[in-house]
Amino acid sequence: MAKVVGLITTNYSTHHPSQFVEGVRPVAATPVLGRYRMIDFTLSNMVNAGLSTIGLIMPDNYRPVIDHVGAGKDWGLDRKNGGLFPLPGSSFGMSRVGGRFLIRDFEANRDFLRRSKSDYVIVSGCDFLYTTDLKKIVDAHIASGDDITVVTYRANEDSEDVNAVVKDDKGAFAGIKTGSAFGDAAFMDLFVIGTQKLEELLGWYRDVDHLDLFDALKEDLDEVRVGTYDYEGYVAPIFSKEAYFKRSMELLDPALQEQLFTNDLPVMTKAHDTTPAKYEPGAHVANSLVSSGTKIYGTVKNSIIGRACVIEPGATVTNAILVRSVTVKAGAHIENAIIDRNNEIAAGTVLRGTSDAVLVLPKGND
């Protein structure tokens, strides 16, 4: 059986950093869907595919990432052989240009690749929410005989921050471009490559290590066979606070939840000893996701409530995301808003955005 290891880049930036997405923490550590961080999905997909050696190329502000993943215990990655390896990444990765796979970052971690004694590497960013069995993609890669298999999905209407695969007249891979239009083969920032092949490419590109791997590859497509794998399940790309809000709200649909949360491929995350959510007498909650450790006395509609929030009597939360440890005092109203962690909304306050201009209240103090 082929040995596969994972490599996740967490040190790139997006086109539209905001107070919420990227402003205060790397994308990998962005809290999502009540009790997760973005990186949980990529990490869990890899672990569920049987990978036991995963490298994380770290951003400069790595604290929230390390705080979350620790030694990988919650993903079963605290192992004697293999495990989770935080790896050095260049300071700003690929700033604002859309690339996620800086050659320099692979080059700096050749020791990781060499010591992994692996046959294949699954390389991924961490801006996409999806749940899938990556073994199938690795199998397809091996069966194709290609050097690299790039994973794509059909882009929906608002994918301007998602990179797309460009194909030539014959339908062959011709490169990666910035931004996707509806129907494009959008790049999931996920590819499979033979470990030896990756090392060989790093040798070729030593002098252009400031480039993204796919920019460098453009010139050599006659020598490197790049194939694509079309992923057909649900994918939620999150590159901006607008996308974050829209995708989160979309996931209030149980049919989509079922595509992310399955029995066979659990999404693992850091364990917290929170108690079940408590609905006090008089609470009213509809069409919402509610995490443990939360107490609800008031009204919650079409919202996502993270851990350890308190919604006091007479308070209302509508079309909103409370990240965690948010207290909404009596009679306060929140609508079309993202309230980051550690905030207290004073009694009677009204915080209201619109569905097009979501209000963001940044992270408060611990």
């Binding site: 919650d74 939840q257 659990p266 959510a277 007498p281 509809a286």
Partner: protein
């Protein structure tokens, strides 16, 4: 192995036969409680929160779930470099093997474990009680009295005293008398079955007791009276908080209900001494557009589409549309399909109530469906 100040021996072999269907497949300490816990979480969390890091868990009855649940003790931070959790089922020696016959006998059979850890004190606990206690405070109390044995006690209503082992003390909390289930109690201090022994005395006493053919090898019935007769220094440690030994279906149901309301009798939300548990990762629960949830605990992974009132809803439960659940305890993975009415009931883990079926009633005893049970029309 390095020396430990205090070692805990957690008795978790009990069947809990009066819990009937809930314990037909699992030991009582492994029974689910309060939405996300298992009963043993409370004793293990108390140990961890009290800084007791070496815990022997004595198991016997239907131990599989209990063993896999405890695992390395990691979920309670009890997987340290030294000590940690050791699971101690009955074992065989060259002279044969034997089941644990009584609480004291279970510890006697594991004296080797105690000697290996060489503690100054041994804390004896029961794995099937629900309470929060700082054992360290009890140990300080034990040392202050220069005691040989300290027994945790709690005051109970006088009329209930005849149901308990009752301790009579002097003004300095020294125990003068121990009476098992007295008809005419002269004290209302009930033993909680939580003991701190000086380790040397425990080892010596258990070895002696093992030779006594008339002994039932029980701490309450045999060991405590023997030490009292021998003039040893026995003291009480007074506990005032919430404590339950959920021995019956009725008390199990009632104790779950005590977690509800705006000012619950037992507040699970105390972050100073969290009750830790070994949980399966699940997403936040989803509450449907037409659902209503009033006065409930609801854990992760649930999907609630119907009406739920005054109930404890554990991880991964499904409540279908047009269904009413009231005054009930739904254990992990239970499913109540569409158009049902579940009232005053306990649904075991993964139990299913099929479409349009009613289960339980306000006017009867609490209805119980065991783990994996399927309730169909006609079985209501």
């Amino acid at each position: 192995m390095s020396k430990k100040e205090c070692l805990a021996m957690l008795l978790a072999g009990g069947q809990g036969s009066r819990l009937k269907a809930l314990t037909s497949e699992v030991a009582k300490p492994a029974v689910s409680f309060g939405g996300k816990f298992r009963i043993i979480d409370f004793a293990l969390s108390n140990c961890a929160n009290s800084g007791i890091t070496t815990v022997g868990v004595l198991t016997q009855y239907r131990p599989y779930l209990l063993h896999s649940y405890i695992g390395s003790g990691e979920a309670w931070n009890l997987d340290g470099r030294s000590g940690g959790v050791s699971i101690l089922p009955p074992f065989a020696t060259q002279s044969g093997g034997a089941w644990y016959e009584g609480t004291a006998d279970a510890v006697t059979q594991n004296l080797g474990y105690i000697e290996q850890n060489d503690p100054d004190y041994v804390l004896i606990l029961s794995g099937d009680q629900l309470y929060r206690m700082d054992y360290n405070d009890m140990l300080e109390n034990h040392k202050r009295h220069n005691a040989d044995l300290t027994i945790a006690v709690m005051p109970v209503p006088w009329e209930e005293a005849p149901r308990f082992g009752i301790l009579t003390t002097d003004d300095d909390e020294r125990i003068l008398k121990f009476t098992e289930k007295p008809a005419h109690p002269d004290s209302n201090l009930a033993s909680m079955g939580i003991y701190i022994f000086n380790a040397d005395l425990l080892v010596e006493t258990l070895k002696e007791d093992a030779k006594d053919p008339n002994s039932e090898h029980d701490f309450g019935k045999n060991i405590i009276p023997k030490l009292l007769d021998a003039g040893k220094r026995l003291y009480t440690y007074r506990f005032e908080g919430f404590w339950r030994d959920v021995g019956t279906i009725a008390s199990y149901h009632e104790t779950n209900m005590e977690l509800l309301g705006s000012e619950p009798a037992f507040d699970l939300y105390d972050q100073e001494s969290p009750i830790m548990s070994n949980t399966v990762p699940m997403p936040p629960h989803y509450v449907g557009p037409d659902a209503s949830i009033d006065d409930c605990l609801v854990d992760n992974g649930c999907r609630i589409l119907g009406q739920v009132r005054h109930s404890v809803i554990s991880a991964g439960v499904y409540v279908g549309p047009h269904t009413i659940v009231e005054d009930s305890v739904l254990l992990p993975g239970a499913r109540v399909m569409e158009g049902c009415r579940v009232v005053n009931a306990i649904l075991g883990e993964r139990a299913v109530v099929e479409k349009n079926v009613d289960f339980g009633s306000k006017d009867a005893d609490t209805a119980v469906a065991g783990n994996d049970a399927v309730i169909t029309k006609g079985e209501e």
